[in-house]
């Protein structure tokens, strides 16, 4: 709708999905420890309540989206359809290895996050396809999201990060927003951290290691200069965010 209202896009056909009830639903599968969220569930539903308990990083990301009015209307379906690197929820979906369920003329298919976002505002949606729902795992451990913007609310991310620490598997994953053409998963830094230290429950990390982790995370970012900020500042931000999130995950 932003494209239509502000950028003069004139689509030939518009299909209203608002009244397709299953897109507004979400569920928690206890057996598989997953949460599946319909593409039309608004951020205001994710901010608090049961989803916030099960997927706290998603709730934190949802809380940073626009104003209360926008959070009452905005959805994961919108973030995925637009696929901007600044999409607030996308680093969370990346760090949690979300699976995107698509539906289209050829039926349904599941796409792993890693194959979904292809570039700036480019995704794997085929002609006539739309996002049905998104499945994320319920993680044992810690997860958190942080977003830098130039004002204290209602702002597009200058840089953002989501860190997930799975204490059962001893894994840490971290994904970055607004610092490259796609959401960036920092697999090198993740690998380095896994080799360097234990990430299972009860693990301790010293401050120097957190700083080094931040530095390695920022090395994987590919930010640009634009009217919103500079590449250097964005790179600096993700280093600080990664460092702070890692420390928080162990606090």
């Amino acid at each position: 709708m932003v494209e239509v209202n502000l950028h003069g896009r004139q689509p030939q056909t518009v299909i209203n999905l608002r009244r397709v009830e299953e897109l507004h639903e979400w569920s928690h599968r206890h057996t598989q420890q997953t949460v599946t969220i319909g593409s039309a569930v608004p951020y205001s539903v994710m901010e608090t309540g049961k989803i916030a308990e099960l997927v706290p990083a998603l709730a934190q990301a949802a809380r940073t989206v626009g104003s209360p009015q926008i959070r009452a209307a905005g959805t994961l379906g919108g973030n995925l359809g637009t696929c901007s690197p600044a999409g607030d929820s996308l680093p969370v979906l990346s760090a949690l290895n979300a699976v995107i369920h698509l539906i289209g003329p050829q039926g349904t298919r599941d796409v792993a996050w890693g194959e979904f976002m292809l570039g700036v505002k480019k995704n794997a949606l085929g002609s006539g396809e739309f996002v049905h729902s998104i499945t994320v795992p319920v993680i044992q451990g810690w997860q958190g999201y942080a977003k830098v913007g130039t004002r204290n609310a209602m702002v597009i991310a200058t840089a953002s990060a989501c860190l997930v620490r799975d204490t059962e598997e001893g894994l840490i994953s971290i994904a970055l927003g607004s610092v490259g053409p796609t959401i960036i998963r920092c697999s090198q830094a993740e690998k380095w951290l896994r080799k360097t230290t234990s990430l299972r429950a009860g693990a301790q990390i010293n401050a120097d290691l957190a700083v080094e982790f931040g530095r390695r995370v920022s090395d994987e970012a590919t930010p640009i200069d634009d009217h919103r900020s500079t590449a250097a500042y964005r790179r600096h931000c993700v280093a600080i965010l990664a460092q702070r999130l890692l420390v928080r995950s162990l606090a």
Binding site: V148, R151, R244
Partner: protein
């Protein structure tokens, strides 16, 4: 909020000194108020404007045939359709109504043509169908190149709008302590609500028209429109459309002439309404400026000499650039004593967006520099920010660097001391709500990441127009069979003048109901709603008209009711003969009579500056002090302004809650300039013409405001009040910058301060 003195003696609801209700208040809160973009007329066409995508280019050809062939397109107007003066402007008539074939466009967004059609979507298609061939030229974007003369001349009237110096005192003086700095101020937008909109309705069969428009100055608009249309002014009636806000951005012509041209050519009512993006191209902005300043002081901190050069980028057309520059250089000293100064200022033409009036009008830029300097001077002398300022405070009777004697009430010391006495905010607690912490719900920081800083800013601001300009105001008051109505052409842009006019009439005439006539050009000019002037000027005119009507009423009542003419007074809603003690209700005394008076108010005359910048160029001044407390995430460069403490010199308080609103709103606007608001221009193009990327403070960015109003009757002012609109937004910007400097130890010579200025 506390006030240091009680206000008016009258407590009757709605009179001066009370929190009278705004006549437009309920409608605005409930969404029923008609803004200018809500206007509609039977048989109305929609208008739209074609703008240049280039900052500097020669127009080779314009072909509108494809646009005219579109079903629903009524007409297209270009430069060749302008029957009168092809240019307009507030000070210099240098801005084309439309850029003409063979001439150049001088800024990105300059109008080239306008269309009228049956639907806004038809207008969009028509604009896309107009073919313009450009020869692209290299834009002049560095104002310094205009001062040094290396830039090619981009307009027949030259690249320098004004060059003025101020030289006074013994230039050989050298201080014991010298501090200097070069400061930069970014381009701020007024970002008003209620976007530019106008509805033109041609007279049936006549040659005139009626224009409903959201503007700051109906008569000046009419003068410029009439010249462009080549129609006598009395054939054009301007009516104020509902205005959402202005802050200086509605002082220049934007869509007025275009709308009239389309209405006259089509013979039908036409409305043009800008969207937010077009609004960024459609009005002038605050001047970006570079200011060098050097202060000399003795060992006790007394300022001995100030040297400064100021460069203001006026953009492609003149607008009010010369006057903005004069305000800036004449406020170099700020609210401090100084006998010796050498100041040189330039306002120049570039291919950047045109700049002109915005709340603070040149003083904002000068104040950012002098208050940054005062902070440095304090550090150099080991004096606190309060102490260095107190040792230099200006007083009534002081001689300014222009030679003018400060004859306004000047409670600068009181402003500083009252601000200093306001309690500091609580420290940031470890369990603070995330919304209190810099970065907010972005969850970037925890209280342990945060450093607190404190900074000061104090300012002086001139009131009314300067340099010999007689910006008078007119008002008409009628009392007909007991019903009072007032009429004026004063633009109500949200400041609350309509409310104030009612308060004045209620107080003077002893009535409770005051009708407001339409705000239009059927009465004399009120001057512009700018320069913190309408309470003083139009307030003065309404007061004068009401007092004349009152004298007539007393004449009538004295005869009719056998009262002693020389001893009658208004008390509450009665006429009282203080000799006999007889009381006649005003409603009774005014039955069956019709009184009608129109009066003008003129402020005392002022003078032009001479070649050394000497002259009594300003009418009056107001003062304010700000103390900012900020929390800074030093590693990420994010800022939360915790508290602004302020004491403002306001003269007599006519409506306490309105003053409070101006103070809080001005602080939010000054905060915006300090940490986020900037139109980013690169190679002559605006990069962020939307509220997605032009960031205004949200409620979570707005600080706690603790204010003291210094109420001292200003004898020169007709109502004893000073303008309160501009002062609150001026020194709050350097106060916040100084607080961030205090927290981070960085020099930060530029506003807005960007996160990476703090942490990289």
């Amino acid at each position: 909020m506390t006030t240091t003195h009680p206000t008016s003696t009258s407590t009757r609801a709605g009179t001066l000194g009370t929190n009278a209700h705004r006549p437009d208040g309920v409608a605005k809160v409930q969404g029923g108020f008609a803004f200018s973009s809500d206007m509609w007329s039977e048989n109305m066409l929609w208008g739209a404007t074609l703008r240049s995508p280039h900052p500097y280019a020669k127009i080779i050809s314009i072909d509108d045939s494809a646009a005219l062939a579109i079903d629903g397109v009524e007409c297209v107007v270009t430069a060749q359709d302008v029957p009168g003066n092809p240019y307009y402007g507030l000070i210099m008539s240098d801005q084309p109504v439309f850029a003409a074939i063979g001439d150049t466009v001088r800024y990105c967004g300059e109008p080239i043509a306008a269309v009228a059609a049956d639907h806004p979507e038809t207008c969009k298609r028509a604009l896309a169908a107009i073919k313009v061939v450009y020869e692209i030229l290299t834009p002049v974007t560095n104002p310094q190149d205009c001062v040094s003369g290396i830039a090619p001349q981009i307009h027949p009237q030259g690249n320098v709008y004004r060059h003025q110096r101020i030289i006074t005192g013994d230039q050989s003086i050298v201080g014991d302590v010298i501090v200097e700095g070069t400061y930069e101020i970014g381009m701020q937008d007024q970002a008003f609500l209620g976007l530019e909109s106008a509805l033109a309705i041609p007279d049936s069969g006549g040659e005139g028209l009626e224009l409903y428009v959201a503007t700051q100055w109906l008569h000046e608009d009419r003068k410029q429109i009439a010249a462009c249309l080549n129609i006598p002014e009395d054939k054009i009636r301007l009516v104020l459309g509902g205005v959402g806000g202005a802050f200086g951005a509605r002082e220049d012509i934007s869509l007025q002439v275009h709308t009239c041209l389309l209405a006259l050519k089509s013979g039908r009512p036409v409305r043009i309404s800008y969207g937010r993006e077009e609004s960024f191209y459609g009005h002038v902005h605050r001047h970006p400026a570079t200011i060098w300043m050097r202060h000399h002081a003795d060992r006790n901190g007394k300022i001995l000499k100030i040297e400064s050069t100021m460069l203001f980028d006026g953009g492609a057309y003149c607008s009010t650039s010369p006057a903005v520059l004069i305000n800036a250089i004449t406020h170099t000293q700020g609210p401090y004593k100084c006998d010796t100064a050498s100041v040189e200022g330039w306002a120049v033409r570039t291919n950047n967006p045109p700049c002109g009036a915005m709340r603070g009008f040149g003083v904002v830029q000068a104040c950012f520099a002098h208050e940054s300097q005062m902070e440095k001077l304090g550090v150099a002398l080991g004096l606190s920010p309060v102490e260095i300022r107190l040792r230099n405070v200006m007083e009534t009777g002081d001689r300014l660097i222009t030679g003018q004697i400060m004859d306004s009430v000047a409670p600068v010391e009181q402003c500083i001391r009252e601000t200093d006495a306001i309690a500091m905010p609580e420290p940031l607690l470890p369990n603070a709500d995330i919304r209190q912490i810099p970065g907010g719900t972005g969850l970037t920081a925890q209280p342990g990441n945060i450093v607190r800083g404190v900074g000061w800013g104090v300012s002086m601001k001139n009131l009314m127009y300067s340099e010999g300009f007689d910006d008078y105001s007119t008002a008409r008051c009628r009392m007909t069979d007991g019903v009072v109505s007032v009429k004026f052409a004063t633009s109500e842009v949200g400041q609350g003048f309509t409310m104030l006019a009612q308060q004045i009439a209620r107080t003077i005439l002893g009535v409770d109901e005051v009708l407001l006539d339409t705000i239009d050009t059927q009465v004399g000019s009120a001057g512009s709603t700018s320069a913190s002037r309408q309470t003083w000027m139009s307030g003065g005119a309404v007061k004068a008209a009401c007092e004349k009507v009152l004298e007539d009423l007393f004449d009538h009542a004295a005869l009719t009711f056998e009262l002693s003419r020389d001893h009658v007074r208004i008390e509450e809603t009665d006429i009282v003969d203080i000799l006999s003690g007889r009381r006649i209700a005003v409603s009774e005394a005014s039955k069956g009579i019709n009184l009608d008076r129109t009066e003008e108010y003129h402020h005392p005359p002022t003078e032009d500056l001479d070649e050394n910048g000497q002259g009594n160029c300003h009418v009056a001044f107001a003062f304010v002090a700000h103390r900012a407390v900020v929390d800074v995430d030093v590693e990420l460069g994010l800022v939360k302004v915790v508290q602004i403490a302020t004491a403002q010199d306001v003269g007599r308080i006519l409506n306490p809650i309105s003053v409070q609103g101006q103070v809080e709103g001005g602080i939010a606007q000054g905060l915006g300039l300090a940490v986020m608001e900037e139109i980013i221009v690169k190679d002559g193009k605006v990069r962020n013409p939307s509220f997605t990327d032009y960031l205004l403070p949200t409620f979570l960015d707005a600080p706690l405001v603790e204010m003291v109003l210094i109420e001292e009757f200003e004898p020169k002012s007709p109502l004893g009040a000073k303008g309160v609109g501009e002062p609150p937004c001026i020194s709050v910007t350097p106060a916040i910058a100084n607080a961030i400097r205090n927290a981070t130890g960085r020099e930060l010579p530029r506003v807005p301060i960007r996160p990476y200025d703090i942490c990289l």
